[in-house]
């Protein structure tokens, strides 16, 4: 958008902490994470299930499900704080400024209403279009997301669309009011592999054409490599490493990122065996002291079991690992 300076981040998340109060004490699901997204930029957020990536997305769009709550930190859009807005104010931002695409296209659409009705309803919530204008716009959107015969399809119900087609409809719905930012939460996970690439290409093209920034939440490193400008690797509620996609993939700093990269099969490289990271991510109830990754880390040393590492800038990336403090100190 014209009023945005290219040097100012569109979205700023600072020291965000998300907690779930339970009977047995408070669980911290997302702990002290910070990141920016520039206008038009695609930020990949990658991590295992339960790493807190979807919660972060939900917090940004203001749809954390109770009893989950933002316990600390701020979220700002265009320099304006949005994490503490009243419901009605935030509602006007949702869809209009920040759109969302969810994981499962099969369940994201209301089965009882035609696709056209759901599009028109969303368009009219955010604009002053008349019924016929909104309908024309709905058909246009369907055609933009690559749905053939949109004039006919607009009348149809979600169950008449295949999974990939439904995800296209969901994308059309998210883009209805031309938001500045899209939160795409595992947009391809529920789809056939053959369709995943199409959907990713579609999101990429539409966002590039409209200058829309994307926060792409996924556990699929391949999708990130193809799509994102920068990537944040999350582990147990914290950001382990964040930086430009090329740097993170080519020269992973954090041992966890390193392990993630080693577990991706690649064609044409002569690796005898895929490596795997032993063990599994700790549950929120028993995150170890020090670095949360220490039980699985092949390079852990004394300090890792005592102190929690802060993010340190190393070359172009930032990494939360004591190994690099050492390097930084030693020069």
């Amino acid at each position: 958008m014209a009023n945005q300076s290219p040097n100012k981040p569109l979205l700023e998340v600072k020291n965000l902490r998300i907690e779930f109060p339970t009977r047995r004490g408070t669980l911290t699901a997302v702990d002290d994470i910070s990141f920016d997204i520039m206008p038009g930029e695609v930020l990949g957020v990658v991590g295992e299930s339960g790493a807190g990536k979807s919660l972060t997305g939900a917090a940004v769009i203001g749809l954390l499900e109770p009893p989950g709550r933002i316990a600390a930190g701020t979220i700002s859009l265009d320099g304006r704080r949005i994490d503490n807005l009243p419901y009605e104010e935030m509602r006007k931002i949702r869809g209009r400024k920040i759109g969302a695409i969810f994981q499962d296209p099969l369940t994201s659409l209301n089965p009882l209403y035609s696709v056209g009705r759901q599009l028109v309803e969303t368009i009219q919530t955010h604009t002053d279009m008349t019924d016929s204008q909104a309908r024309r716009r709905a058909i246009e959107l369907l055609s933009d997301v690559g749905i053939p015969a949109p004039e006919r399809r607009v009348e149809q119900y979600p169950h008449q669309f295949s999974g990939g087609m439904r995800q296209r409809v969901v994308i059309a719905l998210a883009l209805c009011a031309e938001p500045d930012l899209i939160i795409a939460d595992e947009p391809t996970t529920a789809l056939d592999v053959s369709i995943q690439a199409q959907i990713i290409a579609l999101i990429k093209r539409l966002c590039r054409d409209n200058g829309t920034a994307v926060m792409l939440v996924t556990h699929d490193m391949g999708v990130i490599a193809e799509t994102a400008d920068r990537v944040a690797v999350m582990y147990a509620g914290r950001i382990a490493e964040i930086g430009p996609v090329r740097d993170v993939i080519k020269q992973a700093k954090h041992p966890y990122t390193h392990g993630l990269m080693g577990s991706i099969p690649t064609i044409g490289h002569d690796i005898e065996k895929l490596t795997q990271i032993d063990g599994s991510m700790p549950r929120l109830t028993d995150i170890p002291a020090g670095c949360a990754f220490n039980p699985r880390c092949p390079r852990a040393f004394d300090k890792c079991y005592v102190d929690r590492p802060e993010r340190i800038a190393v070359e172009k990336t930032e990494v939360a690992c004591w190994l690099y403090e050492k390097e930084a100190v030693h020069g």
């Binding site: 769009i61 749809l63 419901y87 509602r91 006007k92 931002i93 949702r94 869809g95 209009r96 759109g99 969302a100 969810f102 499962d104 369940t107 994201s108 659409l109 209301n110 089965p111 009882l112 209403y113 035609s114 309803e121 969303t122 919530t125 955010h126 399809r153 149809q156 119900y157 169950h159 008449q160 669309f161 295949s162 087609m165 969901v170 719905l173 998210a174 209805c176 009011a177």
Partner: protein, 327 residues
């Protein structure tokens, strides 16, 4: 869709045949009407003559065929007790029961639905907790007790409403109605409230549970993410998705309203079919009992058919043929 209706109609026919058979079996297995009609002192010749007269001596299949043939034409024979054609007796009683059930069902829906939505949306609110506690009372108190308490308060103590009967009714053709006179309306209030209370709480709790279920779904989350107003999300998207189970239960409940009406009608001496049925049982008035059973079964079948058709109106997944999909 057409094939579906035909299939449903055939199923209904089978149900009706089964009910007719059970009703008819009453003639052979429940009580002896001859005793009731002639008293203890009648001679054996008189009894035999009456048996012959009523067709009780014919073989079973012949009797059943005759019963079916007559029943289809609306002829259920003559009431042993009232010595009038059963169809006439029922025709005078049917409107009273149907009007009572209609008012009770409308009350249950008009009050139960909004309360269900309210308690579903504000499930931790104070109002919801009060309503849920009250609804437990509605579900657990027996109908006759509620009726008697209402009579005590509004008829005996306050004297606002009549304690029994239908009040003045207006005759339209063979149908007599409560709805055109003040005393008719006054008379129907207490029986209808008594009758609806259980259904009301049931609908409220059902809608509440369904709302809570639907509000957790992805499409509601996505509707919120699209920035739709709360009103659109709650009433446009959530409520409509609760409708299929609510329609099912409401349909079934209208059937049980008719059944429960027996008790309510007795408490309020409401001149409907339920009261007639109870009197018929006491007298072993089998033609009336048989006709009542058939009629109630028929109403059930019709309601179920309507419920199935309503599904089609609500849910497009049933409406559209599979071949129309572009997979």
């Amino acid at each position: 869709m057409f094939a579906f209706i035909i299939r449903r109609l055939l199923q209904s026919l089978i149900v009706m045949m089964a009910v007719a058979f059970i009703s008819f079996s009453l003639f052979n297995f429940v009580g002896d009407p001859v005793n009731n009609m002639l008293g203890q002192e009648a001679t054996e010749e008189q009894r035999e003559a009456l048996r012959q007269d009523l067709g009780l001596n014919d073989p079973f299949p012949v009797q059943f065929a005759a019963f079916l043939g007559n029943a289809v034409q609306g002829d259920f024979g003559v009431s042993y007790r009232l010595s009038r054609p059963v169809s006439d007796v029922l025709a005078t009683r049917l409107p009273a029961t149907l009007e009572l059930v209609f008012v009770a069902a409308v009350l249950a829906l008009v009050i139960g639905l909004p309360l269900g939505v309210y308690t579903g949306l504000h499930r931790h609110g104070f109002g919801s907790k009060v309503l849920l506690t009250l609804s437990l009372i509605g579900i657990s108190l027996p109908t006759f007790l509620i009726g008697i308490v209402l009579i005590l308060i509004f008829a005996v103590w306050l004297g606002w409403l009549p304690s029994f009967g239908r009040g003045d009714t207006v005759q339209i053709g063979w149908w007599t109605t409560n709805f055109l006179t003040v005393s008719g309306w006054k008379s129907i209030i207490m029986p209808a409230v008594t009758l609806c209370l259980f259904q009301l709480t049931l609908i409220m709790r059902l809608v509440r549970a369904e709302m809570m279920e639907v509000l957790r779904t992805d499409y509601i989350k996505f509707a919120r993410a699209r920035g739709l107003s709360n009103r659109a999300v709650h009433f446009g998207h959530a409520l409509k998705n609760t409708m299929v189970p609510v329609i099912t239960i409401t349909g079934l409940q209208i059937g049980s309203l008719i059944a429960f009406a027996i008790i309510t009608e007795t408490v309020f001496q409401w001149p409907g079919m339920g009261l007639l049925f109870l009197q018929a049982i006491q007298f072993a008035d089998i033609p009336v009992m048989a006709a009542y059973l058939c009629l109630v079964a028929f109403i059930f079948v019709v309601i179920n058919l309507m419920v199935d058709l309503l599904y089609y109106a609500v849910d497009p997944r049933l409406r559209v043929e599979r071949s129309g999909g572009g997979h």
